[in-house]
Amino acid sequence: MRLGLVIDLDVCVGCHACAVACKQWNTSGFSGPLPDFKPYARDPEGVWFNRIRSYEVGEYPDSKTVHFPMSCMQCEDADCVTVCPTGASYKRASDGIVLVDPEKCMGCNYCAWACPYGARELDANAGVMKKCTLCVDRIYDESLAEAERQPACVLTCPTKARVFGDLNDPDSAASKLVKQRKGQALLPELGYKPTNQYLPPRPSRHVATDVKPLGLKQKIAAWVSEWQSQ
């Protein structure tokens, strides 16, 4: 099994609900808490497993806003695990989820340096590195209804821009979407074989902006037709 996320950049509206749901679930979960530092100050910050950046792609009038959620890509060849000197970072053989054992982590930041996606953040309170667990404490919980055994971010997404599944199984919904929409991994050239895939935005329609202003004759004709219709 190779569990991961498929993220549809065409429908993500950048509402940050996934990041908030993630924080809510995980702060009392396997890698919790996710502390906030100076939450009521001018410059609040905290540990997040998922961050959303927004980009403008293309030139006006054919530009498009693309919202870009990024969390751990659960890389097949995860360098963050290779470089970890204490063995705190590990990749589960059964489902490919990359986790950090807080009992072993010494907080050296080396794994965060090795991650090209900015997926690892230090919990300065505990002195331990933290990262997306793919809601490992949810997806196998048999006390939940089967439909709810999915990561919190996926369940909460209002536009269904996130799909969770086994990327090794060609018949899973996630794999089918990747095939159908030509999903791609980020920074494949680094060779870490990220599991998460991104579905590119569909081409946008051209919006005409080069319409000439109406002449005097056309303005009068428009005014007359409007007056007649009243």
Binding site: E45, P85, P116, E189
Partner: protein, 303 residues
């Protein structure tokens, strides 16, 4: 990358200690120039070990959870950081055995082998420090075999300046160290120049990093309103003025100063100044090593 003072101080100070150990062991093994007496050798090894220890202790300041530092010895097979930790610790018993052998019997074959092994282990420790950075594909300026070569040449350079000063204070002029100084200056300069010229910036762009394959992509919103772990750790920006001033100062201290001292025959008479220039120069070099390194995650932040 954020230039963390604890790591900079650690790599420079421990590097000088290992460089000193490498050179004093080779000096003693081959009886180059005037050999040190057993007591003098013990003193130099003591200074080398003290420098390495101070450096290693400083490195733990960088850890957010130092009580787990002992676990860093466990992943020797895969992590260069673990290898560095194991080699640095293995250096202590070997250095003690070697020093006691030199103390008891200076000329035996066993002490020759031990001296060379100690020098090799010290060099390997510095090499693995360099490999910690050189194995990271995420930082273009580091991901090259030149990185550990630079670390080794600077460690030996500062070690040579230190041994020269110690030898002078014992009234022993070691001319072979002049050759070492010259070699290390040239090697260090070549390493710096190669990295500056070949890896000016991060390869890739926001377009390739996001896979959107459009040439014109701009960051609209970073998603957070205040600096955080990611921006502090990876977002360090070095102004062009500061960069070139520090590069010039560094070259003046670790390249020009040793060359002028060698040319004007000041190495023996001004040994302390040479040592101070080398140590300070390597400190600046290491600060720049971090400050100039651009992590690939910066692309997503439009940097």
């Amino acid at each position: 990358m954020h230039p963390a003072l604890s790591i900079i101080f650690f790599t420079v100070t421990a590097g000088m200690g290992y460089g000193l150990a490498i050179l004093v062991c080779i000096h003693q093994a081959f009886g180059l120039s005037e050999s040190f007496t057993a007591l003098q050798f013990m003193l130099v090894m003591g200074i080398a070990l003290a420098l390495a220890t101070v450096g290693l202790l400083a490195s733990t300041l960088h850890l957010a959870n130092p009580k787990n530092a002992w676990r860093a010895l466990s992943q020797f097979k895969r992590s260069w950081l673990a290898r560095e930790a194991v080699l640095a610790l293995a250096f202590y018993p070997l250095a003690l055995v070697t020093t006691s052998m030199v103390w008891s019997d200076e000329s035996s074959l066993l002490s020759l082998i031990l001296l060379l092994a100690t020098a090799a282990l010290a060099l390997l420790t510095v090499y693995s420090t360099g490999m910690i950075y050189a194995c990271l594909k995420t930082v273009r300026q580091w991901y090259t075999p030149i990185t550990p070569l630079g670390f080794c040449s600077l460690a030996v350079l500062s070690g040579a300046a230190a041994l020269n000063m110690i030898a002078e204070s014992m009234n022993k002029t070691s001319y072979w160290l002049y050759g070492v100084l010259l070699f290390c200056v040239v090697a260090a300069f070549a390493c710096k120049l190669a990295i500056w010229l070949c890896f000016k910036s991060t390869t890739g762009s926001l377009s390739s990093a996001t896979g959107l394959a459009k040439p014109n992509i701009r960051l609209l919103d970073i998603g957070h309103s205040a600096p955080n772990f990611l921006t502090r750790e990876f977002g360090y920006r070095l102004s062009a003025k500061k960069r070139y001033c520090l590069r010039a100062l560094m070259l003046a201290l670790i390249i020009i100063t040793p060359l002028v001292f060698l040319y004007a025959d000041l190495v023996a008479s001004n040994a302390a100044y040479l040592m101070a220039a080398c140590y300070l120069g390597v400190l600046i070099e290491r600060w720049l090593f971090f400050a100039e390194a651009e992590h690939v995650v910066r692309l997503y932040h439009g940097m």
